[in-house]
Symmetry: C2
Subunit: 356 residues, 2 copies
DNA sequence: TTGTACGCGTTATCAC
DNA sequence: GTGATAACGCGTACAA
């Protein structure tokens, strides 16, 4: 009843609705509804349509999408689930998604799992309760209970960056196999043979494909990769990369020629570890990454990496989601987006043979 | 009628609702509603409550929040409007917001304006149509039509990082004045007197406060800042920073001792421009930034900057939003979060007098 | 071409 | 304590 604090409630209450427009234009509100939504059933006389439209504009009518959602069972909102938006690979993907879906009137609900599966399942439940029209999942594992839950709930799903083992959901991913193959071939072409790798958990398709890309290329070239030149991180962070590199460096007296890292953050950790071990890069050890996160060309030394088309992955995923909404069968289930090798200072052509 | 493609529709249709639970437990659905929502009016007998609850769990009941929203006029969703999520300052803020609001059942709708005011106003309209409970605005200008529109629509608003001239909306911001003051004092203490600055548009409170922090400190120290040592960028990007630096460097034959940049990205552009001009950093020119974006300690040279507590700003903004929902008057209108000077290699104590 | 009437799944306000 | 019932604002088959 007060003046100041009821402002918002008043605003809501005062909000002009379909029937207000109808009353002001002297027609029934169902007519207004038809006028305002192109693609409705019956045709409308031009003069009525025009009158209704101007009245609606004058009154500042905006449809209440919650009411519409209740009726249509569609909220025109979609969820985006990521482990952590602070990982620089996600923002460009979000941009791409927005580019594809925003013109169609969709809004994006972003949630971080914090790398916690329980949280992630809970997020899916909450999004389901909100009747999101679909979910973009950037956390997909090769065997994924989250994917199963979405499917159990009947929520259209598109995986981002990763895919399940059986390719059970539509997915738009980077060609990690091809990217790492190109990287490994370049490492070999640069003259290196004593190669080390830092891998990531193999329940992620990205990590597995990258590892396969390395392995197959080395195998074809007949280059051995002994166990003591292989390390793994439980999570793709700089901290873990540093730790893994320390393990690698202490495994043998001599350092490897080059360390191929599963991604950029891990590579940054590797750089730190090498520095602390008194090794300089690239003269003592070359290092490579993957992703091409921002500023990577500015660090010392500029990191050799593979650039993913993250924005394009997001955009394509948006398209897949839209075609799924239209009931079109998705094919192929897994769509691969190309990437590009970027050679920078952290990887140098081998100058001479190492002293034995 | 087919089997595969109607799966989702079936799921929606099949979805267990209040009345299903009611039927299965032999009570009226309004009773179920009361049981399931703590804090409803009438008290319920324990046995009925228990029965209803178990039945609900068995049937896998989940409330339809769209229907609830239609009734309550609250969607428990809030909008976050940023220019571009690719700017690394935003993700930590989003995390902070989620930390504060997610436990309360709120979801966050993220939208990028792409630095376009028309788009931004449109986003507000769309969010209003979705009945968001509130909006976080990270784009606030000193005079801001977007703020006005939100207020006109009666949507609770919290500004992030920036504030309007008249402090018309609750805001949680960084203490940019203090941060730049500390930076400038350190620059002076390092022995520099020939100082250049790169500023940003003064319709942003961040840019203006930083500039004031610099100016006041120099004034107090009696150090002059001639016009040819002042440049400005239309947008805080590396590209613009590079361009502005080129302008600075060509204005006079001698380069300044140090360039104080409005933020890190601009500073990175400055580094690039200096390199191209054959100047080395910090021996020829020192450079400073602001924000402490990720990897800044890894670039060459490591950039001296001011670290903002971005996550904390997001969290605090979430708290402000919540207390606003509870009808509590916000005070003070502008809440400042402290920041910290980080001195790194890009700024070195002046060794000797420059040759004249 | 336009109006009628019902339903979407809840919440809230009544009675009883 | 519990049941009945009216909104909430819109979409749409159907009638006119």
């Amino acid at each position: 009843m007060a003046d100041g604090k009821t402002k918002r409630a008043d605003n809501r209450a005062t909000r002009v609705k379909l029937s207000d427009v109808a009353a002001a234009s002297g027609v029934h509100y169902s007519t207004v509804s038809r006028v305002l939504r192109p693609g409705s059933k019956g045709r409308i006389s031009d003069d009525v349509a025009k009158r209704v439209r101007t009245v609606a504009k004058e009154l500042g009518y905006h449809p209440n999408s919650v009411a519409a959602s209740l009726r249509t069972q569609s909220t025109r909102s979609i969820g985006l689930i990521v482990h952590d938006m602070n990982d620089p690979v996600y923002p460009p993907i979000l941009s791409g998604i927005e580019e594809a879906l925003s013109p169609q009137g969709f809004a994006v609900l972003v949630s971080n799992t914090g790398y916690n599966l329980e949280v992630e399942l809970d997020i899916v439940n909450r999004m389901a309760a909100r009747l999101v029209d679909g979910i973009f999942l950037a956390t997909t594992r090769l065997q994924d209970p989250v994917v199963e839950r979405c499917q159990g709930l009947g929520i259209p799903l598109v995986s981002l960056l990763r895919q399940t083992e059986q390719e059970t959901s539509p997915a738009v991913i980077n060609d990690c196999y091809g990217g790492m193959q190109a990287m490994t071939e370049h490492v070999l072409a640069s003259g290196y043979r004593d190669i080390a790798v830092i891998l990531a958990p193999q329940y992620l398709s990205t990590a597995r494909e990258r590892w396969q890309g390395i392995k197959d290329t080395l195998d074809r070239a007949g280059v051995a990769l002994p166990d003591h030149r292989i390390a793994a991180v439980p999570r793709m962070s700089a901290e873990e990369g540093k730790r893994a590199t320390e393990t690698l460096l202490t495994a043998r007296a001599s350092a490897p020629d080059v360390i191929i890292c599963v991604n950029d953050l891990v590579a940054i950790g590797a750089i730190r570890a090498c520095r602390e071990a008194g090794l300089s890069i690239p003269s003592d050890v070359s290092i490579t990454g993957y992703n091409d996160i921002p500023l990577l060309d500015m660090i010392d030394p500029a990191l050799t990496t593979v650039r993913m088309q993250l924005h394009e992955i997001g955009r394509a995923a948006g398209q897949v989601m839209l075609s799924q909404f239209e009931g079109q069968p998705v094919s192929p289930m897994t769509q691969r987006v190309n990437c590009e090798l970027l050679v920078r200072a952290s990887l140098r052509r081998k100058s001479g043979p190492k002293p034995t």
